[in-house]
Amino acid sequence: MDKHILLRHRDIVGIEKLDIYCGVGGFASFEKAIRTMQPQDVTAEVKNSGLRGRGGAGFPTGVKWGFLPNNIWPHYVVANADESEPGTFKDREIMESNPFQFLEGLMLASYAVQAATAYIYLRGEFWELAAFLNQKIKDLEAAKLLGDNILGSKYSLRIFTHLGAGAYICGEETALLESIEGKLGQPRLRPPFPAVEGLYGKPTLINNVETLTNLPPILQNGADWYRTLGTEQSPGVKIFCLSGCVKQPGNYELPLGVTYRELIYTYGGGILENRAIKAVMSAGASSDIVVADDHALDTPLAYETCMERLNSPLGSASVIVLDESVNMAWLVDKTVNFFKHESCGKCTPCREGTFWMNRLTDHIVKGEAKASDIDLLRHEAVQMQGRCLCALGEFSTMAVVSAVDRFRPDFEKHVRS
């Protein structure tokens, strides 16, 4: 693509400054919305665009907005900027380099659900970024784009940043809300869903940074325009985070529906040292490990095609490329150790399951395991599936089961016969 829709800083120098952003159409969407559109019209436009949540779940954004009840107030909006999935690094680039488009998106979402307060929940490691965004928020307040009666309208909005402090689980939206309330980041039982009972017990909309950044161009150019990009069921563009054994790792903004092959070879420059590709993971450490055969490489990266063709969700489109030099037992030991470390400890299947899986993978890679331990590892993972309180426990099993099933020799290499 010639011009970026989300990563516009790659085309426009200085777009992180308010006057430059405004000079290229910035805040025109927000101004149009608060001056000429009813909140429900904004929601309708987003619904029509077919935009789906970019944090990983892929839920239709406009539909999510519609869940907030109009008889309980106040409403809150929270931007999920907890980006912590191994392999994911897109939201950081958006916020660092094109901050006002993200903030405008957050303001549009806040207007649509009539929230007067919005929080940006950043992982604590983004300490510098939080200070940077605080300054951008001050710039908006000085320009009267935030505050009371914005641009002479009846709409008022304040935005605050809130730093986490190192916990992957806080990307799960109910754990995130607990964290803003000053508690351990442990997921809540659902229902009630955050849309009804969220932050401080009030209706709350939580959207990912990339999702929000899509909103200004959608409101500016219309839902029909947005639908000209991507596929029918996955309209629009997506930022693909490409990492692992690839020559040019990085963020690539492309229409949904680009194939693995194009992403890895055309954009990513191919495999390091021209080795053979072995497998791919599409949603960071939470993914199945997919054998990189022609069928997989020719799969369009869209929500529906990844499920239909590979039975593996697109998730956050954080593609980790694995070449022939990667041993899958080593890999699974890595991912399982991550999930063991990040398990919040609230539910037994995840707390105990990740512990025991990690014990087994540790034994396997150290050459201390028996062949039957490979089956035990798989059995342990399958036992966890469907029994964890939140999706993150479930995620810890994906790489384990798929790796044992598809790359068993990699495990057998390590065990005593």
Binding site: F89, E125, H162, G166, G182, G185, C241
Partner: protein
């Protein structure tokens, strides 16, 4: 009188202004960061002060401190060099980098240099997978990212900080 509040009154007032008046509990984590700024860990006497300011029990605040990895209960080096060794970084040599860095600084993983300036640790994903090896530097109340690292580059960063502290002649053990 609350010593933490006395020292950081303006900042603490600003923190509370972000949240509804009846939700002082939301200030627990921001206040832990404030309490940790000076020494690189949260001194035990800060807990009753945060409890008094927020109305949250000391027990609950201690639990929060233990849950989140960026809060520290124990003193360590003035700066924590925290290297990501998760999968995407490991695929690009982060484990070897960490090992070599530890050797170059003369510490084992998790250990602190003899001058008390640097603790070297492995941490989980930092969202910088495309610029591995990467570490974050936690110290003096700040967290900064250093990306596309080599041992040589990191030693330059460390040398710069050492020089800064020898010039200032400041106490480095907090």
């Amino acid at each position: 009188m609350n010593q933490l509040y006395q020292k950081y009154a303006t900042e603490i007032d600003e923190i509370f202004s972000r949240y509804p008046a009846d939700q002082k509990n939301s200030a627990v984590m921001p206040l832990l960061f404030v309490a940790q700024r000076e020494k690189g860990y949260v001194p035990a006497d800060a807990l009753p002060q945060i409890a008094e300011l927020t109305g949250v029990s000391e027990t609950d605040i201690t639990a929060v401190m233990g849950f989140y990895t960026l809060f520290h209960e124990q003193p360590a080096g003035r700066y924590r060099i925290q290297v990501c060794t998760d999968l995407p970084c490991a695929l690009r040599g982060a484990e070897q980098y960490l090992q070599d860095l530890c050797a170059a600084l003369g510490v084992s993983e998790g250990g602190t240099t003899s001058d008390g300036l640097f603790t070297v640790e492995a941490v989980k994903c930092l969202a910088a997978c495309h610029r591995a090896p990467v570490f974050q530097l936690q110290g003096d109340g700040e967290i900064k990212y250093y990306e596309k690292q080599s041992v040589e580059l990191t030693l330059q960063v460390a040398a710069g900080l050492r020089e800064l502290h020898s010039r200032e002649g400041s106490s480095i053990n907090g």
